[in-house]
Subunit: 214 residues, 2 copies
């Protein structure tokens, strides 16, 4: 599935704006984007509510009009990030037919998300331990959908004789892990595009599941 | 390469102590281990020198007898972590013969390191941006050795007709990425052992490089 040449930077920026567009009112949205920047720069523990408010052009007290706590901001960022990523995956997988096509669509979409939105993805992936119990349970429930969906695709591929896998749970985790770690190392600054990484990872995934022609 | 049953927890603890044993005097070592714990809990930006000193049973001023700054502590942790991981890899790869055996040894050692020492590995992998320019250059130089070694193994395996790879640079990065991300998700608390993950990842890596029998 080689990608057509696109302009990922423009796409990413447009999509990024769209991602938060439903957060209303505008001051609430500004705070969320400011919190994301601060968490990405200093980590959840290192970022202060004062900095988050100032970066959004507001007084420290103004933050509490919209959010109960710093942890509430992290939860909203994480929930929107995970949910939108999941909705994209769900749509592309549903639109594909054979298990192989579903697997390709899943990996392609998952890798491109973690490359394009690497700042958001880093905060989503590396700050989970700062959520409180109930918040973490909500996010964990969304996260389990990715693993379940991937295991279901692997199962159906084995049944259809398309895949040959030794440990569908472990392989599903490995495929997700490879995609998630893209957020750590991908910068978008060099010549390497999100689509290039996705193409390679689709190829490697097909090999991992025993598609000999891959 | 299925692993013989071992007791990884005991091994990990013993090795963990040994890892820092050369840091002298003992108060300097205590501060380093305390800093590692604090960075793991709160991130570099979130951890204070006061907390680090207190956890080591020292006064805040005592820290500066041994280290110039919080960043200096992070650098020493990162340098020791990266260097010891590299030395292990270098030894097992040198002891292996064919390219396939070298690749197996590399992945096995790299994955086990990131699973057993996941707390250390997380700090090494996710706090790099808090190092200053010169410190980062030193760590980056060690990090490049892993990528170079892996690319050299892939090259020799292709020449020997053992591997079939489309993009040795990208595949080397993917293999490292898969190992590094183990530090994010592996807890050591469940039934899954570091050796189980290593065995699966060796299998998946052999498939990625086109070893059809894998």
């Amino acid at each position: 599935m080689p990608h057509a040449p696109t302009s990922p930077t423009v796409d990413a920026e447009q999509f990024y704006e769209e991602l938060w567009a439903h957060v209303q009112p505008e001051s609430s949205r500004r705070l969320l984007i400011s919190a994301l920047d601060c968490f990405a720069l200093k980590g959840f523990e290192g970022a202060s509510t004062r900095e988050i408010a100032e970066r959004a052009g507001m007084s420290p007290g103004g933050l509490y009009v919209h959010y109960r706590s710093k942890s509430d901001l992290l939860f909203q960022i994480s929930r929107i990030g995970h949910q939108r990523n999941w909705e994209e995956i769900e749509a592309v997988v549903a639109a594909a037919d054979r298990p192989t096509d579903k697997l390709v669509a899943f990996v392609d979409s998952f890798v491109i998300w973690h490359a394009r939105f690497h700042t958001l993805a880093r905060v989503c992936q590396y700050e989970l331990q700062s959520l409180d119990g109930e918040q973490l349970a909500t996010i964990t429930e969304i996260r389990r959908r990715f693993q379940r969906e991937l295991e279901a695709i692997l199962d159906s591929g084995v049944q259809a004789g398309e895949f040959n896998v030794v440990d569908r749970h472990g392989i599903a985790r490995a495929i997700l892990s490879l995609g998630i770690d893209v957020a750590r190392w991908f910068t978008g600054l060099g010549a390497l595009r999100a689509e290039d990484v996705a193409d390679l990872y689709v190829h490697l995934t097909l090999r991992m599941v025993g598609r000999a022609e891959a």
